[in-house]
Amino acid sequence: MTSSLHKSDLDLAKRVAVGDEMAFREFFQAYFPRLYRFALARNGDAAFAEETAQATLCKVMGKLGQYRGEASLFTWLCQICRNEMSAHFRRANTDPARHVPLEETDILRAALESLSSGMDDPEVFSRGQETARLVQVVLDHLPANYCRVLELKYLAGDRVSAIAGVLGVSEKAAESMLSRARIAFKDAFVMLYGNDASELLHD
């Protein structure tokens, strides 16, 4: 994998690093919501999500020139965000064991099981919320066009013909993009949450 694989990310980072205000706004609008949701998925605490996403973005303002495009910009930001989360727990003198990362697949398994359970039970409802956040983090890791096509298909309930109309492409192209997006979703899911997650998708 070479840096050229993330050329658009690299270009954006460079423009922000040299003080381009339009690029800064583009960067903030693209990455703040995703980082916020990434942090929120950690423990469901909105104040914690705000603090760590803000600390991450403030920290990278002086470091974007160091981004080399070897991973996607969001992956790079997530790594810095993880460090900020750890720093937060250290400052709060909190036992990290009490903040079990949601990435752990047994947590994920329990959360996924909630999909087939009733939502009346508060514990089950809470798991359902965790699942939603996990899925949203996966979607945030996908390219915007993949995310959009999946949301059109599964949230808006659009047929492929309607998706093709929205995207301005042929039905065949829309079907192909949807297929790629599903595979990308699965890969990102497994990348983030481990191979057990892959097995869960077969259940």
């Binding site: 993330h6 973005l57 939603a132």
Partner: protein
């Protein structure tokens, strides 16, 4: 599992390198996404709060890089100090007031493409009473009024000049600076939540659909709303008034990064022939620092020292790195986050 990256950053975007998903996998993916619902939206106030902090960090990083570049330039720049008693001219601090009686104000600083009644606004343009000013994404605007006060409009804002003393903030944020020698003013910023009466000050009013924020940097303002007691706010305090009537008070330092956007819209200071004292007063005011001069003789020396050159294009903060090293006071001036102290 394989995971390949492509130019668009997709994970596994070439299906030829993957096995096809089974129907049950596709079902599970659909079920996961449907159950998760729309991705969680970020509350507007949270986004705005974080944006202000991150934007300040962005500007600081940009300024630090620029300072590095200008340090060498500054040594050779034509920012010279003529020292000697009696040679300092009487300078007007900050922007010159506008005398045109038919105009409400003139445009002093422009970022992006602000408009008045749909027409583009440039530096020097007159703004009349009745004008509706609008700034889109990335656009900001500073006006200088006839009494020397400045009005700065943040991005994504709309402000209507109802009369010489009455401004209606429809949305977004406006920063009002009545100047360092402000006299009593009848100026009012009208919002759907209530009216903010200026009492000689620097303050910001920010209006969103569900909350009104008033923050005071210097002086004081009074928020009046039908049915509630007037809320008088002093310097370095603020309040959030929500649509449900609840009020939250908070403290905010004059030098807090919250004010960074307004600082970037400061009217140009004319350095040529200004005294070091006037320059420092301007920087201190625009950056929310306290100017502390320990001895009378220092104050007099600063007032007798004249500057030459230009700081065009530099923010008040950035200009310090250019101007101070060229003065004979460089070793006596200590700049911290909250003060400019002259020994």
């Amino acid at each position: 599992m394989t995971s390949n990256k492509t130019s668009d950053g997709a994970a596994g975007s070439d299906p030829s390198e993957h096995h096809e998903l089974t129907p049950s996998e596709m079902d599970m993916i659909g079920q996961l996404i449907r159950n998760s619902g729309q991705r969680e939206a970020i509350p507007e106030l949270v986004e705005r709060r974080v944006y202000a902090k991150v934007e300040a960090a962005f500007r600081e990083a940009t300024a630090a890089r620029r300072r590095l570049k200008t340090r060498l330039w500054a040594m050779a720049a034509a920012v010279l100090v003529a020292i000697g008693a009696g040679i300092a001219m009487q300078m007007t601090l900050g922007p010159q007031p506008v005398g045109d009686p038919v105009s409400f104000a003139r445009v002093s600083v422009v970022r992006g493409a602000p408009v008045a009644d749909g027409a583009a606004l440039g530096v020097g343009a007159a703004v009349d009473i009745g004008s509706a000013l609008e700034t889109g994404v990335g656009a900001r605007l500073t006006l200088i009024l006839g009494d020397g006060a400045t009005i700065r409009l943040d991005e994504k804002s709309r402000l209507t000049v109802q009369s010489a003393d009455r401004l209606e903030l429809v949305r977004g944020a406006v920063y009002v600076d009545s100047g360092p020698k402000a006299v009593a003013s009848n100026r009012v910023v009208v919002t759907p939540f209530g009216d903010v009466h200026e009492l000689g000050t620097q303050f910001e009013v920010r209006s969103a659909p569900d909350v009104l924020r008033v923050a005071v940097r210097e002086g004081s303002v009074e928020l009046k709303k039908a049915g509630i007691d007037a809320n008088r706010l002093q310097a370095e305090t603020g309040l959030d008034l929500r649509a449900d009537g609840s009020v939250r008070f908070f403290d905010i330092e004059a030098s807090d990064n919250y004010w960074a956007w307004a600082e970037t819209m400061a009217p140009q200071f004319t350095l040529e022939a200004a005294t070091v004292y006037d320059y420092l007063v301007w920087v201190a005011r625009e950056t929310g620092r306290e100017l502390v001069i320990s001895q009378d003789k220092s104050s007099q020396a600063l007032k007798n020292s004249q500057l030459h050159g230009s700081i065009e294009g530099l923010s008040p903060e950035d200009s310090l790195a250019v101007v101070l090293p060229t003065t004979r006071f460089a070793s006596d001036i200590v700049v911290s986050k909250t003060t400019i102290r002259i020994r």
